[in-house]
């Protein structure tokens, strides 16, 4: 496990000035509650973030979209089930269809699965309880826009906070996902081992985050946006956002 000083590298990013600022959209559904944390994370990294209200029918010009955590529509019926019918979700589907980068976190993961933009589904934690704690994430595929800046062997210590985060997909879907490199992150021990006791919710194969086949839509249950400053416990979540930023830069 390598320790890289994220704080110093962060300053190099912010030092680049306004010229290279990217614009992130953060969707806001009724009941979203980590929307502000997403904006905070993007601003910490020196880029711009804008809220996009769920009733909007277009996204405007954005470089990437974040679908935040929370309890959209109270998580009634199923987490994400109601939100995915919001007007903004049609615009999001078009954005994704055209190759736009979309990252979902927690409730955002649930919404993207419900919307069919990601495979699988999230069910009740095997403990049947809400779980709020820090976990370690191991990156399985580092060749994606969401993982490219994460150094090899870098574990990320990030918090989880969810009641329905047990990832499920059937066997054939999983095989297909594996062959396309769609599994991005798994829960790991502090030593980086993929052991069952590191898995906080019972997710199949310890999966914490996945992406679509095209590789431009991804989501994870843990909250990297709540781990972008040492002051609040960890800055490891930056690696994911820095990957996005790097990718946007490369694409320019």
């Amino acid at each position: 496990m390598t320790q890289v000083d994220t704080e110093t590298e962060l300053s190099t990013i912010s030092d680049q000035g306004n010229a290279s600022k990217f614009s992130f959209g953060v969707l806001q559904f009724p009941g979203s509650n980590s929307d502000q944390d997403c904006v905070n994370a993007i601003e910490v990294l020196g880029h711009e973030a804008h809220y996009v209200w769920h009733k909007e029918e277009s996204l405007g010009h954005l470089d990437a979209v974040l679908v935040p955590g929370g309890f959209s529509y109270g998580d009634y019926l199923r987490a994400g089930a109601i939100a995915r019918f919001s007007p903004v979700m049609r615009a999001l589907a078009d954005f994704a269809e055209n190759g736009g980068l979309v990252l979902g976190v927690c409730n955002g993961f649930q919404i993207l699965c419900e919307a069919g933009l990601l495979p699988g589904a999230l069910i009740l934690n095997r403990s049947l309880q809400f779980r709020s704690e820090f976990v370690h994430l191991s990156t399985v595929n580092s060749g994606t826009p969401f993982t490219k800046a994460i150094p090899a062997d870098q574990l990320m210590r990030v918090p989880i906070a969810h009641g329905e985060g047990c990832y499920f997909a059937d066997g054939s879907t999983l095989n297909e996902m594996e062959s396309h490199g769609q599994i991005l992150w798994k829960y790991a021990t502090a030593q980086g081992d993929l052991e069952d006791h590191a898995n906080p919710n019972g997710s199949v194969h310890g999966i914490a985050g996945v992406c679509n086949k095209a590789g431009n839509v991804a989501a994870l249950m843990p909250h990297p946006e709540r781990a972008c400053q040492e002051a609040i416990g960890s800055a490891d979540g930056q690696w994911i956002f820095r990957s996005l930023i790097e990718h946007l830069k490369d694409a320019k």
């Binding site: 089930a81 069910i123 049947l128 019972g202």
Partner: protein, 90 residues
């Protein structure tokens, strides 16, 4: 302002039962089973826990039937993890 209803629609009730697919983990069912065993209810062999919805509808039954089917498939259940069954009642 509410416009008074002109002619009598049928008032129907429909029950929708949504259960986890067999291949999907049912931690709730397992927990209930364990708890029942623990409490000495030893004849219980298996438990599944799902969701139950009761809808009150007004309208024409035939067209409602297909719409409810559609709602179940699109929205009320998640076909990746759940099966559903619809029971009509007058």
């Amino acid at each position: 302002m509410m416009v008074p209803v002109r002619f009598e629609w049928q008032i129907m009730k429909v029950k929708i039962i949504i259960t986890p697919k067999k291949a999907v983990l049912d931690p709730q069912g397992q927990a209930v089973l364990n708890a029942l065993e623990h409490m000495g209810y030893d004849g219980v062999k298996d438990v599944h826990v799902g969701r139950f919805l009761e809808l009150e509808l007004s309208g024409d039954k035939a067209s409602m039937e297909s719409r409810i089917e559609e709602a179940c498939h699109r929205f009320l259940s998640n076909p990746v993890i759940e099966d559903y069954r619809v029971e009509w009642e007058e």
